[in-house]
Symmetry: C2
Subunit: 186 residues, 2 copies
DNA sequence: TTATTATTACTAACGGTGTTAACCCAAAAG
DNA sequence: CTTTTGGGTTAACACCGTTAGTAATAATAA
């Protein structure tokens, strides 16, 4: 039942955006009355929160796959960037829930570990690259944030369609370019 | 009247977040009944849209001030970055409305010029820096996007409180660091 | 078998939302 | 003096999140 609610909610979010998700629509879709939903979830926010957690877990699995596939930290970092990018555009509804500004479900304290999964993964890879070179912990921390920022920022800008580059292939090239420049200057 | 509605709406958004803004609350605050609001705005989305436009205009004024103050493109670019950063954290409600993912008021086509004001400003500065060096139009375009991305990304990450750096001074240092690295490698 | 409890689902309501149709009334125009 | 206009209202519609109260059914205890 609980999983069914989440599955249906995700479907509705995919179809009409998370803004128009309503408890009543979920109830209709699972062919139950409204209050049964409150037997399984505290409130609507809890549903969105759980959906975003599913998103974090899905992304985490993909990153773990990269980790197993690529031992070389540079290759792994490139793979992580690609994975993050593809995840965002294949699952924009998840990405908005997970990283959108002012989302009703984002409770900063609650989901810290899941929230930082991506940061931790790229952090590991970057530390792997940087280990030979002399780089203080602070510098490394800065670099991790800078890498995450450029990825997240570019994804956001493209998702909001405020990039004047319309071609998606082109946008990906911008990302690859940024990733290359970043790695070169590590 | 129209300006009054917008002023009151902005005040409410500042106090309780844009999620909890309602037409009735605005009507109460301006001491009129609900339908008068619809004499001045098509719907709620139009109010949020107009607010976000005010945000774009405010940011644009600040960037224009930088432009007048700094003739040297590198100094100007640094000033623009600082201005963008400060604008975001002094006016988080504006920033969320303007650049938030999945905002109900963001209509990609409508506000393109305002949306791209920041990009255009940093674009001008970057072109000024890059003019001596050999850089194709495409490369320059990429660099502009990369610069915007790292700023917007970092602001978003810090705003969502998913940065593990709690100190705001520290976060600004990460930005300065990124800006420095970016300019050095132009 | 009967009585009691627990489970599962429902209806119906409360207060709130965006939006709009219908109306009211005072001031200006004929 | 009547009519039109414009600014303002009330009241409603259809939806929303949330919850109290209830009916029915299944499981358990007597």
């Amino acid at each position: 039942m609980r999983t069914n609610i989440l599955a249906v909610a995700l479907q509705l979010v995919k179809e009409e955006g998370w803004q128009s998700l309503s408890i009543r629509k979920i109830a209709d879709a699972i062919e139950y009355s409204v209050p049964v939903i409150y037997d399984h979830f505290e409130n609507k926010e809890a549903i969105l929160f759980e959906l975003s957690m599913d998103g974090f877990r899905l992304l985490d699995r993909l990153l773990e796959k990269d980790k197993r596939k690529y031992a070389d930290p540079e290759e792994r970092l490139r793979a992580h960037a690609e994975t993050y990018w593809n995840f965002a555009f294949k699952n924009p509804e998840y990405y908005q829930l997970m990283y959108g500004l002012g989302m009703p479900c984002s409770s900063p304290g609650k989901a810290k570990p899941e929230f930082n999964s991506f940061r931790d993964h790229i952090g590991e890879a970057i530390e792997g690259i940087v280990t030979d070179k002399k780089s203080s912990d602070e510098e490394t921390c800065f670099k991790i944030h800078a890498f995450w920022s450029v990825l997240h920022g570019l994804i956001s800008i493209v998702m909001m369609r405020c990039s004047d580059i319309d071609d998606s292939q082109m946008n990906k090239k911008v990302m690859d370019d940024s990733v290359n420049a970043f790695i070169k200057n590590l």
